[in-house]
Symmetry: C2
Subunit: 416 residues, 2 copies
């Protein structure tokens, strides 16, 4: 039977070069956050649909992969609606599961709870270049800390993770939902229109000042408010860094992070930063790397979201590193580079009598050179075997037989 | 809205202690196999149902979590059968995806392809203690190596992984499907009955020699064959190590692995070892740890499985470390032990002026002590704050203000 051997639509296989880089990046991120006191937790890939469709996921709630009911629960005869077919789905983010695990274990968790999650999430989006239906998210969150030290800690730890990954020339953009509301009020927009105004303002990078102005006009907002806003936004653009609406909290965060950054990276007030998710209640932030469009990571404070499940509000803020984006950039940077890693194949004659000596040789090579060692049996067509090892990425080989002593390591060349 | 905050039925959340141990175990396994030349690959959690139900999964094919079709593809009005509702499902093992990724990339993959996979698989089994519907599998496989050096390498690398995880007193049990067939023939069972006989023999550990005998009688097999078999099996039990049916290949593997083991672990011929999966064609093996029932890992050769997809057979053998089992044993061992790790909280006065100094102090503590450092703002109820830090697992704290100099680290005690 010949079957389709492609991965399912919109998802991706990773062969060794990429899979190993992904593992490396993940470890650097986890290790950095761990050294700042964040602790790893894990939740299952499946969640109750009731939880996933609770309203915090926005558009993502429409992209859920739903799991078919099983056995007696699946009664095809009485199916009237999609709801009769499924009660569980694949998670579309890690924030919804985080609020669930916190709600479920709050008695056992001392606050503040500093959490790291690195796991796959699933969204049935229209497949497009560089975006997949299964992708890795790396989130850190601090639950139970009202103070802006939580934000300082998140931002310093995340910047350190990027430094440890080899990035420099990146900038943290920071704003506050409270500042956005304050500005919108001052410009003359009614409070009930704020979110709608922010949806348009969020497109500034893509459609420019004129685009924003046009869209707001088409939404029939007060033209005086629109021109007051456009006037300010244009000023922000020109001055690049505008302190007009900066509040005390954001200022303190910028000061502390700048001091720690010590010129290794930058942080700046970005009064037009909105970030999409409706659940943010306070500071919002994202990181941009010079030379790459868009942001590589972002997050914000969401003090009301957990309260929705618990009945009482719990302060929380989080930051998500764009894992897939970062791996893409690193793959791009790396292509062409030679890794410089030594990879030795130890080949032994089938007639060799002391298998132990072969393996202890392999063992000692590994220890001395900190390299990858693999043991293979010598093939009759030895030249072809060496060529094959070269193609597999081996850089050196050592031949072992009862007669060979001492054991020497030779470089592999691309010839048969 | 109050929703159910438990994980979905049969699945599990992992809080930090367990999640961090899982990460550690996974890294030790990956690093050990990497040092033996195995390379990591990754496939998506979802696969085409057509592939998953291809017949290699045995009973697992009945336990697939199927994903509901979406959009126009889901036409509720014309649904006649479950098949109309779903075309993708969550993988139930990593072997089926491995054969798919190999089939899909065979032109780009030089052989032998030594692979490591550590990923979640999903089975809708009846939930029971210690068994979950989502669990981690750690598989290594060698594709394209007919020679038994592949088995030697798999077994040595896997044993090394167990040693690196801190296990000793474990034994590799090894057999060969060819030996099983040869014995069954000699005992007098017809070739078409072999697999059915092996299904019963596989239960030997659970139901004992008498149980096996009774079950074979109830299956109406020839009583002469049954008593010949029971006679041999009893002998195996008594002698514990029986070379009567040992073949040359298994003997060579036992010799090589014993030499490398050098007394650190054991390997023995186990003529009644069957292992469930029908796709095994050659040597089969599992590892048992003294004092723990059942096996912690196992595998075998499956030279025909890839051929089913490609049309031409490709030699392959694999080994799977029972990740969840191993984590359970390690959690059990660890409970009660104190980790001994230093975890320092650096507390700073809200009035401190040099935030940079606080963070560089945190930074240097981390480097000097290789410990986890977290920065917190000093609270008014300082005693209560220290108690809270103690409860969070911090062992030490350092207080930082403009007046404190030099900076000293004190031990945290369980008192307010």
């Amino acid at each position: 039977m010949k079957v389709n051997t492609n991965p399912v639509r919109g998802m991706k296989d990773f062969l060794p070069d990429e899979a190993e880089l992904r593992e490396k990046v993940k470890r650097i991120i986890i290790d950095t956050y761990t050294s700042f006191g964040y602790r790893k937790i894990e939740t299952p890939a499946l969640e109750h649909l009731e939880l996933l469709t609770g309203g915090d996921g926005g558009e993502n709630e429409k992209l859920i992969f739903k799991v078919l009911k099983r056995g007696e629960k699946l009664d095809l005869a009485s199916v009237k609606d999609e709801k009769d077919l499924s009660e569980e789905g694949l998670r579309f983010d890690l924030t919804v599961p985080l609020t669930r695990i916190y709600a479920n274990n709050q008695g056992n968790i001392p606050l503040p709870f500093k959490v790291i999650q690195t796991d796959y999430v699933f969204r049935a989006e229209r497949p497009q270049k560089g975006r997949y239906r299964q992708f890795m998210q790396c989130d850190i969150d601090t639950i139970g800390e009202k103070d802006y030290t939580a934000e300082i800690d998140l931002l310093i730890a995340s910047s350190q993770a990027l430094l440890n990954l080899g990035f420099k020339d990146f900038t943290i953009h920071i704003n506050d939902r409270k500042i956005l509301h304050m500005m919108a009020g001052k410009w003359g927009f009614g409070e009930k229109d704020h979110d709608n105004v922010f949806i348009t303002l969020d497109k500034l990078d893509k459609i420019g000042v004129n685009g924003v102005s046009e869209e707001l006009k088409s939404k029939d907002f007060n033209s005086g408010a629109i021109s007051a806003m456009i006037n300010d936004v244009t000023q922000f653009e020109a001055a690049e860094f505008n302190h007009l609406y900066l509040n005390e909290e954001v200022k303190k965060v910028i000061e502390a992070v700048s001091l720690v950054a010590d010129g290794r990276y930058r942080i700046k007030f970005a009064p037009t930063l909105v970030r999409g998710m409706g659940y943010y209640t306070g500071m919002i932030y994202e990181i941009k790397i010079d030379g790459y469009p868009g942001s590589v990571s972002g997050g914000g404070r969401y003090d009301k979201m957990i309260g929705k499940r618990l009945g009482t509000d719990v302060a929380a803020c989080g930051f998500s590193i764009g894992f897939e984006r970062i791996v893409d950039i690193m793959m791009e940077k790396r292509s062409g580079e030679k890794s410089g890693e030594k990879k030795i194949a130890i080949i032994f004659d089938p007639e060799v009598h002391d298998a132990k000596k072969v393996y202890s040789e392999a063992e000692s090579q590994k220890i001395i050179n900190k390299c990858i060692v693999s043991v293979a049996r010598k093939e009759k067509k030895f030249g072809r075997q060496l060529k094959k090892l070269y193609d597999q990425g081996f850089t050196h080989y050592g031949e072992f037989s009862d007669n060979f002593s001492p054991f020497t390591i030779k470089e592999l060349k691309n010839e048969e």
